[in-house]
């Protein structure tokens, strides 16, 4: 990576057990590398280039300077889409994190019935977003859905037809789908907390609440950062679930950036502005990841080795 580094390839260290014949294994990395470069790295550069062009998705691509950026940035839907994306991101983080931590602590204990519960919890992760959205669409029907089943008239709302409610439903369904996954991450984190910490605090007479707040939570710091990053970046780019559940509606009340990109690109056939929105998506994702990593406050190298 750094061009200033000495030519490491030629400097052989006979005592090292690995790396002696590193040239011989280089080609083994090539198939994965080529495949990944063609369908991920080049498109990442491509999306930036396409944002300076005009293209209808079928014909020829014309360079057009900043026209597409202007179209994307002056679109009246953009502030709204940014706001909706942010609200969904923030609310789903607020809902998912505490529940995932508590569930993670709950299933970290090694008991048979909790093991069984953990197995059942995981089922939503297996389902496609399309299947989940379709299920909830029918389940939330005011006349024949859950409200009729439970006989609770309060539940008989037009859940997906009112903007505030629809946003809430999106957050709920996202949480329903992903909490199992995150509680699994927390389960792994909790199981790695040294038991001696609990023993020591018990001797000091700490209660269980106290233990949770002064041992479990601080010890989970890095797990929280990992899980939060996955959550935030995941909900930033999530598309399938909202597309099938509300298609951005009613009106534009659940139209996120990812949806706006799709509508610009594949419905209005304005690939240039759609690419500009995609670039914005990538930048926000990167910024948030870096911010969360900064919060973690550790050097990068040790993290890589730790894994």
């Amino acid at each position: 990576m750094t061009t200033l580094a000495p030519p490491a390839v030629r400097v052989k260290e006979p005592t090292r057990t690995s790396g002696g014949r590193s040239g011989a294994v280089l080609w083994m990395a090539l198939p994965a590398l080529v495949w990944f470069v063609i369908f991920a790295v080049i498109p990442l550069i491509g999306v930036l280039l396409l944002s300076f062009t005009t293209w209808n998705g079928i014909g020829t691509i014309h360079g057009s300077g900043l026209t597409s950026w202007k179209a994307a940035l002056t679109d009246p839907g953009l502030p709204r889409a940014l706001w909706v994306t942010f609200v969904i991101m923030a609310l789903s983080w607020l809902v998912q994190t505490p529940i995932s931590i508590l569930l993670g602590v709950f299933i970290a204990a090694r008991s048979k019935y909790r093991g069984l519960l953990a197995v059942l919890y995981f089922v939503p992760v297996l389902l496609s977003s399309a299947a989940i959205s379709i299920t909830y669409k029918a389940l939330l029907d005011p006349n024949f859905g859950l409200s009729a089943g439970l006989g609770v008239s309060w539940l008989a709302q037009d859940w997906l037809g009112q903007s505030g409610l629809a946003l809430g439903v999106v957050v709920f369904v996202v949480s329903w789908q992903y909490i199992p996954f995150h509680s699994l991450i927390y389960q792994g984190g909790v199981r790695q907390i040294p038991q001696s910490l609990y023993e020591a605090s018990q001797i000091d007479g700490a209660g269980r609440m106290r233990q949770f707040f002064s041992i479990t939570l601080p010890q989970l710091k890095y797990t929280i950062i990992t899980s939060s990053t996955l959550m935030v970046v995941g909900s930033l780019t999530s598309f399938d679930l909202i597309y099938v559940l509300t298609a951005g509606g009613p009106g534009d009340s659940t139209r996120t950036l990812a949806l706006q990109m799709y509508q610009f690109g594949f419905q209005a056939r304005l690939m240039g502005p759609a690419s500009a929105i995609a670039v914005i998506l990538v930048l926000i994702g990167l910024a948030i990841s870096l911010l969360l990593r900064r919060l973690g406050g550790r050097a990068d190298e040790s993290q890589l080795e730790g894994m």
């Binding site: 090694r110 008991s111 389940l139 790695q192």
Partner: protein, 300 residues
């Protein structure tokens, strides 16, 4: 979910594994967390209710659906809805999904294993260091954000509206996480084993297959299940890269079926149930591997 930006950030806590974290910790946490305890059962209800509802609704007749209580199982079970779904060509969609999932997962995992082996064995090689860094950064590339150039590549390669169009990018996006997880496993293999293979005159290729492959089998299974699940459930690639019904995979088929049969809720419920059965069965068989693998991969 695959956009796991800083999976590598999940480093171990100091001390790593506590030697005995068996029953005593479990027993204490059991009493510790009554909040979690009640939440645990409530959560089970929240998870299970929609699943229960979708299964019982799929067994109701359409007229019954409108007059019976939605949460009560039907008194006379009908499989008519499943017939409707299968007649709507879901067998084809099922096999399309199988082809796409197998066609993308198998090469992605094999190439990832090779790449992981190369990256670990050639850790001092400048090029391999760069390649490794590229894969780590690649974890942060969200599929949705690069969908337009992917679309451009696919139409220029004359692959639009084919299963191969879905397979190629799906596999590419399974690679970074697979390389990361497999690399961590290969790194744990004692160096002496590699050395003795070399003494015996084995080639790197031979060492990969006869040493690294068997030793990383648990990680291979985890990575395979995880990637297959992502690809099986993929929606945006089939949505954008195909158009004819012949090339539909199951999630897309569900969506189109729902827009055509929207009023026939029991049939829609049957389509959801039917497409879910294969994954739930696979989960029942491979769950131990998947759950422990994911816990090890992310929780570290």
């Amino acid at each position: 979910m695959a956009t796991s930006t800083i999976t590598q950030e999940s480093a171990p806590r100091h001390g790593g594994k506590a030697p005995q974290r068996g029953t005593s910790l479990g027993g204490r946490l059991l009493r510790l967390n009554w909040v979690g305890g009640s939440l645990g059962w409530i959560w089970l209800l929240i998870v299970m209710l929609p699943l229960y509802w979708i299964v019982i609704t799929s067994l109701k007749t359409q007229s019954n659906y409108f007059i019976t209580n939605p949460l009560k199982p039907p008194t006379d079970i009908t499989f008519e809805n499943y017939k409707t779904v299968i007649e709507a060509d879901f067998v084809r969609f099922f096999f399309n999904s199988v082809i796409v999932t197998a066609g993308a997962t198998i090469p992605a995992v094999l190439f990832s294993l090779m790449a992981a082996y190369a990256v670990v064995r050639g850790a001092t090689n400048r090029w391999l260091k760069g390649i490794n860094a590229l894969f780590l950064m690649g974890l942060a590339i969200p599929l949705q954000a690069v969908i337009i150039p992917v679309y451009l590549i696919i139409i220029r390669a004359h692959l639009y509206d084919s299963l191969l169009a879905i397979i190629l990018p799906s596999a590419a996006f399974a690679i970074p996480l697979s390389v990361l997880v497999l690399g961590n496993f290969i790194r744990d293999v004692p160096k002496e084993l590699f050395e003795s293979m070399r003494m015996d005159g084995a080639t790197e290729w031979g060492t990969l297959w006869r040493l690294a492959f068997p030793l990383t089998r648990p990680a291979l299974v985890t990575v395979t299940i995880y990637s297959a699940l992502q690809i099986w459930n993929g929606f945006i690639l089939p949505l954008i890269l195909t158009q004819s019904p012949n090339q539909r995979t199951m999630p897309l088929a569900l969506w189109t079926f729902q827009s055509e049969f929207g009023v026939n809720v029991p049939a829609v419920a049957a389509s959801v149930t039917l497409t879910t059965i294969p994954i739930v069965l696979a989960y029942a068989i491979g769950r131990r591997q998947l759950l422990s693998g994911l816990t090890a991969g992310f929780g570290k």
